[in-house]
Amino acid sequence: MPQLITEANELATAGVTISHLSKSFGSNLVLDDISMTVAPGSVTALIGPSGSGKSTLLRCVNLLEQPDRGTVTVGSTTIEAGAKVTDRALLALRRQVGMVFQSFNLFPHMTVLRNVAYPQEKILGRSRAEAEERALTLLERVGLRDKAQQHPGRCSGGQQQRIAIVRALALNPRAMLFDEPTSALDPEVGVEVLAVMRELADSGMTMIVVTHEMQFARDVSDHLVVMADGHIIEEGDPRAIMAAPSQERTRRFLSAVLER
């Protein structure tokens, strides 16, 4: 199987650093002074019960949520909460980070090809021919070239999610965020998506993955972060934590997930 992103080797992927990040929704403190480092080219899995703040943390990395305090650094771009964030700084950050959502969020009025090509034209200034050629190459690599002229509504969930990954990759991101990418999918379909993610990890992409897929977290991620109630309660080597969690809270969460 060819490498999914040759570019990842050319453009060094970036690390992600989160420091002293806090975020409230109203009076509800969702993230409480979170600090975390993701080394370039590494994969971090973020797990924890729902409501623990893991999705919010992920969304703070590309500023879909504005943190109240703290800083987010991707590569050489740092955004500090509180200070007025200019649109330019925001775009500079987002252009380095690709994101994949639980609900895919493909644009339903565009064909699969246009979904992947249009952002490249707009953001990287590629010509239409160039963008579509790259889109087709990437679609080919995830086995969906024959879907190029269809609308996303005609594709299965697993296909849509692979297209969403390709759409983000086509912009040459230096890090990728995944927000429960397989939670909306049947298990056997999720496997196709996980396979693409595994390949991406092997090719050296920096990834932060919010997931309930414990096997993926154990086998693919380099670093495991367990969150509960807006705090990181435990982090470290995925196999070590899963074999012997040091926190009671982690133990309860893991046994609940694994029993399912």
């Binding site: 590309n62 879909l64 649109d87 775009l91 987002r94 252009r95 980070v97 690709g98 994101m99 959502f101 609900s103 969020n105 493909l106 644009f107 339903p108 009025h109 249009y118 952002p119 707009k122 953001i123 609308h151 509504g153 969403a164 759409r167 983000a168 912009l171």
Partner: protein
């Protein structure tokens, strides 16, 4: 037969008033919709007030005010202009609300995905949200057009020579023989335009749904 011809002579005026007012509404509804969706609270509230005010005043009052009330220096509306402007303003307010509703039904994930890709506000709005909102709004826009076609008949009250005006005139000129025939003729013509329009709109909507 005479009645039919007399009423049909009013048809071009009915179509003119409807089409012109609808055109004003289609275009004028856009800035109002943008105001209703503004990031600034003050703008939002102000435009909301204007839209509700326009919709709160009965169309016939609008036409009377514009026709009898407006005389600023040399500017006076003749009956046709007052009808087109009045119905145009009302259309803009209703269509703004319909457009806004089209955007409101879009999942938040669409905006988030566009932002996460790094698309700016403008591209997100024009290329991602607006085409989808237009699709959702299309059935309501057509329904509004059909209502406007019939409402254009109130222009006859200020002397625009549309179908209803023509029917009225014919009845007055032939009090012994006309009966209600001219009004039935007018009704039949309204129906004859409305039904095909509704069918075309449904087809269009179904086709868009299939491709989406």
């Amino acid at each position: 037969m005479e009645a039919v011809v007399a009423v049909l002579l009013g048809l071009p005026m009915t179509l003119l008033v409807t089409a012109a007012a609808f055109a004003i509404g289609l275009v004028g509804g856009i800035p109002l919709m943008l105001g209703l969706r503004s990031r600034h609270r003050v703008v939002r509230l102000a435009v909301r007030f204007v839209v509700d005010l326009i919709r709160g005043i009965p169309p016939i009052v609008w036409l009377f005010v514009l026709f009898f009330g407006v005389s600023i220096g040399a500017l006076r509306f003749n009956a046709l202009a007052a009808a087109i402007v009045g119905l145009g303003i009302i259309s803009a307010a209703y269509l703004a609300e319909i457009y806004r509703g089209g955007f409101a039904t879009l999942p938040a994930g669409q905006t988030e995905a566009a932002r996460a890709l790094g698309l700016g506000r403008r591209s997100t709005f024009v290329r991602v949200l607006a085409p989808q909102a237009a699709r959702t709004a299309l059935p309501s826009v057509t329904t509004f057009l059909l209502a406007l076609l019939k409402d254009s008949s109130i222009a006859s009250t200020i002397g625009v020579t549309d179908m209803v005006f023509a029917a009225n005139t014919f009845v007055r000129q032939n009090p012994m023989t006309a009966g209600l025939t001219p009004f039935f003729v007018a009704a039949a013509v309204y129906v004859a335009i409305s039904i095909p329009l509704a069918i075309v709109a449904r087809r269009l909507d179904a086709r868009m749904r299939r491709s989406a």
